[in-house]
Amino acid sequence: MFGTQVIKNAAQEALALELHWLQRCRQGDEAALSLVIDKHRNRLVRTASNILRDRHEAEDVSQEAFIKAFNELGRLRDDRAFSSYLYRICVRLCMDRLRSRRAEPAEFDSAEGDAGTSVENRLLIEKLLNELTPELRTTLVLREMEQLSYEEVAEIMRVPIGTVRSRLHTARERFRRLWTDATGETR
């Protein structure tokens, strides 16, 4: 009970601090811009890396997301929504990159995996993810890799929860079929 209260207070303090930084960002304060970037950059780069499977492109996209968000700061009605707004921009930019990339041959560079996953498996998973449409792939990544709730995925992708469920089902189904075709095993 006491612990929950402490966490709640800390979250409120962090939010109040961010609101203050955003006010300063509007006045063009570079220190405040840097503080806001510090707070969100790891999450953005991680999500973009999971969707795009390319660390350099992920950095580039996340920077673009920051720039767009800062440019639109004047139009933002509620500063408390900045975090989700920024995240949504980043996911959209990732999807745009995936769409433009589909015509080109796939390139992967994130073979350095977490312990427990072989490099071959990881590369295969990345190759199979590339076979999915940007919408299916992004939904699958946000749900499985980023472990977001259905509601959060729906809010970020601006689609109804039913669409998230159906996309997720289709994505899993397709991924399973591709995996079986590629490895000959059904696990």
């Binding site: 570079e30 950059r41 920051f66 977490d114 996953t117 990544v141 499985e144 890799m145 899993r172």
Partner: protein, 124 residues
């Protein structure tokens, strides 16, 4: 024509609902295993982002400048048109009805007189 209950036409190779859920969980695990958990961003990430933001803001202004100039000129034009229309009745109409052209013969036409005592330069 006989009607068949849809379940009878189910694909015999399709997994049951329970099996399908189990497989979903397994393949979710497969996808999750490839997740990137920790990322390292470049050391100059913040600086580069801020620099790009500054350049982007300047470029936006430069990009919009012709549009803004055009809008300003159009606004001035519209303002002038409105002014003219609102004061239309006060403006004298330019019409040559009731006018005539006449030769102007002034009776008191005088030429300047030259004084001989003065030098030529001064007359000029």
């Amino acid at each position: 024509m006989s009607w068949k209950f849809p379940v009878r036409t189910q694909n015999p190779e399709a997994p049951s609902v329970g099996e399908a859920d189990g497989l979903d969980d397994l393949f979710s695990e497969v996808v999750r295993s490839a997740a990137i958990r920790d990322v390292e961003v470049s050391s100059n990430y913040n600086k580069r982002t801020i620099r790009r933001f500054r350049v982007d803001s300047k470029e936006t202004v430069r990009y919009l400048m012709p549009l803004l100039t055009g809008a300003a000129i159009a606004a001035l034009g519209i303002f002038g048109l409105v002014e003219i229309l609102s004061k239309r009745d006060q403006i004298q109409p330019l019409s040559n009805t009731g006018m005539e052209v006449r030769r102007d013969v002034s009776p008191g036409l005088r030429f300047p007189s030259l004084e001989e005592s003065r030098s030529v330069d001064r007359v000029r």
